[in-house]
């Protein structure tokens, strides 16, 4: 073992990366070589200096925010994947269906034959109007596009129309439930959202309903709606990790103290969870609200000791 080797390996020695025999030889060499001993001391000093830039664990709120963002992206990715599977065209499956369904095969054949004839005789016919329903019959929801048709002088106006309708039934009725879920997420009127969330809170055992309530807890601008949503999802913090994350985020970041204190109590059953514990420890020390600080301390104190 020469000085060059020793001086190239002092860092590995200090990091505990040398094999036992190499470590032993290096130690022997250092005892009798002042130059290499000085190099080892300099390397040690350097490593200690570098520790002045400490590695800190991400704070609970930073981690929670990253998790929430990821969860949303994962949900979108899951939905896209589900849609892809639903829409993906599988020619063999179609062929199998046609083989076992002579009637379907006949329909496809006739449609193709008719379509071909239609295209042959109407390819050059001028387009007059493609509208079938006069706009006056329904209120216009909004004009989505206006296009000039080159050469014909016609204009194509595309619009959405609204028709009033109502539906009645129990909360379990899929059609009623769809509308309630839509209202809870999309309605501009907070009174409607509040009523919708109120009704849905009783069906929070349904994962789809829970997802909507979690969305309302996170994003609804009205604190009343968020509180109502919290009441609905609160009992599920133990079994549904998404609910737990959303309630934790509400505890850390909600602008309304009522929602935050509701979230704190909702999290009591999972107070031993590391992310909840970290959040409570942080809040008990730093939260601007005295109530949150005191309650966080109380919940932490009620935690069983882990030996």
């Amino acid at each position: 073992m020469n000085c060059e080797w020793v001086q190239q390996n002092t860092a590995l020695y200090l990091y505990g990366e040398l094999a036992d025999d190499a470590r032993h030889e290096l130690e022997q060499h250092i005892r009798r070589c002042p130059n290499c001993a000085a190099e080892l001391a300099a390397q040690k000093e350097f490593q200690e200096q570098m520790n002045a830039l400490p590695v800190e664990e991400p704070s609970a709120s930073f981690l929670a925010a990253a998790r929430m963002r990821l969860q949303e992206s994962l949900e979108t990715a899951q939905q896209n994947r589900a849609w892809y599977h639903r829409l993906a065209f599988d020619p063999m499956a179609w062929m199998r269906q046609v083989r076992f369904s002579p009637a379907l095969a006949m329909i496809i054949f006739l449609a193709g034959f008719g379509g071909g004839l239609g295209a042959m005789y109407s390819a050059k016919a001028p387009i007059t109007s493609t509208s079938t329903t006069p706009p006056a019959e329904a209120s216009i929801g909004g004009i989505t596009s206006i296009e000039k048709q080159a050469g014909t002088g016609n204009v194509k106006v595309q619009y959405d129309k609204r028709l009033p309708a109502s539906v009645q039934g129990s909360v379990s009725d899929p059609k009623v439930q769809d509308l309630l879920l839509y209202a809870a997420k999309s309605n501009e009127n907070s009174g409607v959202r509040l009523n919708s969330v109120d009704v849905l809170a009783s069906k929070a055992d349904d994962p789809r309903v829970r997802e909507t309530l979690t969305y309302a807890l996170r994003y609804d601008s009205n604190p009343g709606v968020r509180l109502m949503a919290l009441d609905g999802v609160g009992p599920f913090v133990k079994q549904d990790i998404r609910v737990r994350n959303a309630v934790l985020e509400a505890l850390l970041d909600d602008s309304n103290l009522g929602v935050r204190s509701g979230a704190l109590h909702a999290l009591e059953p999972v107070r031993a969870d590391s992310s909840v514990r970290m959040a409570l420890q942080q809040l008990s020390k730093e939260d601007p609200s005295e109530y949150i600080r005191t309650e966080s301390k109380r919940v932490l104190a009620s935690m069983p000791n882990i030996y």
């Binding site: 990091y15 990366e17 200096q49 981690l63 990253a66 998790r67």
Partner: protein, 198 residues
């Protein structure tokens, strides 16, 4: 050791479940490793926003490619490999733009000085001592910028994250020997840079 084997076995089950489309299993995998990924990304990039972007992109990539995971390495190595590649891309971009300064951004876009991070929070720390630590922290940050992205990454994983060189080699798709040489080069550069700054 038994704990590691147990964790690896649990990971195997979770990965198989995730490959069958079980989202809860994937989320469980995320929760096991996301703290470490965020810590690495944040310490390397010094920006909450960049760290969150890397964290997000790393786990989304893992989600999209979990079907291709062939159990040739641990999930830990795999997710670290994805995250370190994203970090390397960012460090390379920054090097090109030469915008990596001591001033970093938090999640709300506000800027804060890197020096704040090295302030001594312990009670009894004197202002002079605190100032010295802050100055040293700034010098370290400057010295770290002299490294190539790969040297920076190896140094980060060894010195700050405490990973074994064998694991670092595996994560970076290289040999332990190459990781050792990269660490040696990086260390020499840092020592020289710190000496010249002082």
């Amino acid at each position: 050791m038994a704990g590691q084997a147990q964790s690896r076995m649990n990971d195997t089950e979770l990965i198989r479940e995730a490959q069958r489309g079980n989202h809860a299993a994937f989320e469980e995998l995320v929760r096991q490793y996301d703290g470490a990924v965020l810590r690495l990304a944040y310490h390397l990039t010094r920006s909450e926003q960049d760290a969150q972007d890397i964290y997000q992109e790393a786990f989304l990539k893992a989600y999209r490619n979990i079907g291709n995971f062939r159990f040739e390495c641990s999930f830990y190595t795999w997710i670290y490999r994805i995250a370190t590649n994203l970090c390397l891309d960012l460090l390379r971009k920054r090097q090109v733009r030469k915008e990596d300064s001591g001033v970093t951004t938090d999640s709300e876009g506000g800027t804060y000085d890197l020096l704040d991070q090295v302030a001594d929070q312990r009670s009894g720390a004197s202002p002079e001592r605190d100032l010295m630590r802050r100055e040293l922290g700034a010098n370290i940050a400057k010295a770290l910028q002299k490294l190539t992205p790969r040297e920076r990454m190896v140094f980060e994983m060894k010195h700050y994250q405490g990973l074994k060189l064998r694991t670092i080699g595996e994560i970076l798709n290289t040999t332990e020997e190459t990781a050792k040489n990269t660490l040696f080069r990086g260390t020499q550069k840092l020592r020289a840079a710190l000496k010249s700054i002082r």
